[in-house]
Symmetry: C2
Subunit: 146 residues, 2 copies
């Protein structure tokens, strides 16, 4: 059995910034939801595009969210996971939206109108890995230049 090892803050940030998708958790009056999303990281905030009428758009604004990225190698029982938590706010200022679009606009794979930009400035960031002998950066599904 493998010991889970805490990732450093730098490793967590690198993995968060290198990915293009993860899962966001939110609390609704009817309990928690998990929604898979594409994301980007602009400055020190996670940016997610969604529809104003979605579960995320309805219950995921002006409240705490948790966002997770991970990768698991089931055959070798190894992997890593990074979780960021912070308060989500809707980006409304045109200058801020322009900055996001110019820096790194999130690119959802799925069709659909996603006019709402949620910004999560993380106040908690932690990660763990299980199993050794692999390079976290090389294991990323997509290599993003930073």
């Amino acid at each position: 059995m493998n010991e889970a090892i805490d990732l450093t803050r730098e490793e967590c940030e690198r993995l968060l910034r290198s990915g293009v998708g993860g899962r966001v958790a939110l609390c609704s009056p009817n309990g928690p939801y998990i929604v898979p999303v594409n994301h980007s990281v602009v400055d020190d905030a996670i940016i997610i595009r969604t529809s104003p009428y979605s579960v995320l758009g309805t219950y995921g604004r002006d409240t705490m969210l948790a966002f997770e990225v991970d990768q698991f190698d089931h055959e070798r029982q190894r992997g890593w996971s990074v979780v960021a938590r912070g308060r989500a706010e809707v980006v409304v200022k045109p200058a801020e939206l322009d900055h996001i679009r110019e820096t790194w606009e999130p690119r959802p794979w799925a069709a659909g109108a996603r006019s709402l930009h949620l910004r999560v400035r993380w106040t908690e960031l932690s990660g763990r890995k299980i199993g050794s002998g692999w390079d976290l950066a090389a294991a990323l599904p997509v290599h993003r230049s930073m």
Copy 2:
């Protein structure tokens, strides 16, 4: 851009039962958390082992949980995700614990005492896929006999 397509109930169940790990979301007084976990499916319930002192063990009992499994091919921008939601209860009866152990005991990869068995009988189950031309079952990281 790809249209997201709803999975049938049968596809959702098959993917849920075929996996060995996912992510559970819970609501705490301090907002939502996401925790990656190994899981199993016994009868019509998700079984997760955790420590009584973890965030999940503290805030994830006798309350609604959301559990998600997915697989994404970032290069080809395709993937699927299944989310199950239901009320979590701690399994305490010895006969029920025996039944779980005999049927399919969850096998956490990470070391650590996980004496608490949480059971989530899902009351909501839904899934979506993006992108076509792949066999959902063949794409599973681990093939479990059912």
